[in-house]
């Protein structure tokens, strides 16, 4: 699982939950709020991505995540740790 694969799954879940256009591009430096997400959307997207990746990142490890790029890094590390 490459970092780009993780980003793509995150993109798909975000488009799905926020009902965004299919060609939406997700930028590392942006936050979910920049795409119109509210707090419950964010938890739903992140838990959906974790389910699809079959990883579980402890809640506490997500406290310091502020950008999409940071989130992709955390999820990608969790995938790497599992492999």
């Amino acid at each position: 699982m490459t970092r780009d694969d993780v980003l793509d799954i995150l993109r798909q879940e975000t488009i799905d939950i926020l009902d965004l256009p299919a060609d939406t591009v997700m930028e590392d430096g942006k936050s979910f709020a920049d795409y119109g997400a509210i707090s419950i959307d964010i938890v739903t997207i992140v838990s959906g991505v974790m389910r699809r990746l079959n990883v579980s990142v402890p809640r506490q490890d997500l406290y310091d995540v502020h950008s999409l790029g940071q989130l992709v890094d955390v999820l990608h590390s969790a995938c790497a740790a599992k492999e």
Binding site: D16, I17, L18, D19, I40, V43, T44, S47, G48, M50, R51, S56, P58, R59
Partner: protein
């Protein structure tokens, strides 16, 4: 946002995966038995009753057609213990519904109650339920479906000699109603099954003779509840047939919704 999908029912019927807390206790063991015999897979927790939990799992393993049983140690006063038990359950089973049955009670006059006793009851019954729900929300949100069923008590309306227990069970009703509102839009439901006086468990061990007599005199059905009364309601709430039941307190009291 896309519509929330209904829970998948297998061709054999609604075989679900359930997580039952306090599953080796008086009423919990009956629930585990009924669920596994109905073909559901069950991860259940115990705190001190390790040998009863193992014996229950071994019994059910020998029943033809019974679902899988997975006993797990969990103390719901301890966040790490909760997180570990639930993670272990989720590596084995894609849990569809959580039955929050574990509970504790301490009797005594409020005027004489020590802080430690109050805190222990509230930590177990209310904060413990919160810890379990919080962990499972990440799982349920990921699959966009799931059911919480809290075992409550008629004591939630107040009960002499049981202030901490009553307050904790009233709190559970608030917790469940909040879950129902906050996560209903994501396909997650939360309901309370509120019990009157039941045979078994703390109903047998902690109820005084006078409470039992009061119950048998005033309950319109002139009886205490049986394990089967709980199992049929809880299994209905866990089934795909109950996904529109949300935020309710369902009373299993034989019609006496009041404790002295």
């Amino acid at each position: 946002m896309p519509p929330v999908s209904s829970p998948t029912l297998t061709p054999d019927g609604p075989r679900r995966s359930l997580f039952i807390t306090g599953g080796a206790g008086g009423l919990g063991a009956g629930l585990v038995r009924a669920a596994a015999r109905a073909g559901h897979n069950v991860a259940f927790t115990y705190r001190t009753s390790a040998s009863a939990a193992d014996a229950l799992a071994a019994d059910l393993a020998a029943v033809p057609g019974a679902g899988r049983c997975l006993p797990l140690r969990m103390d719901q006063r301890d966040t790490d213990s909760v997180e570990q038990a639930i993670s272990a359950a989720l590596t084995e089973l894609d849990i569809d519904a959580v039955i929050l049955n574990a509970g504790a009670a301490k009797t005594g006059l409020l005027a004489q109650m020590e802080d430690a006793d109050w805190l222990e009851v509230v930590d177990t019954n209310l904060t413990g339920a919160f810890r379990v729900c919080r962990r499972f929300l990440w799982h349920f949100l990921g699959r966009r479906s799931g059911q919480f069923i809290h075992i409550g008590s008629v004591a939630a309306g107040g009960m002499a000699g049981h202030a901490a227990y009553a307050a904790s069970k009233a709190g559970v009703e608030g917790l469940s109603a909040s879950l129902a509102r906050e996560y209903g839009p994501r396909g997650i439901t939360s309901n309370v099954v509120s019990l009157g006086l039941f045979d078994g468990g703390m109903g047998s061990e902690q109820a005084s003779d006078s409470l039992r007599q009061f119950w048998l005199t005033h309950c319109p059905q002139r009886r205490t509840g049986h394990g089967d009364d709980i199992a049929s309601t809880v299994l209905f709430l866990c089934s795909g047939a109950a996904t529109f039941v949300n935020g309710q307190v369902i009373r299993l009291t034989g019609g006496l919704d009041w404790a002295p």
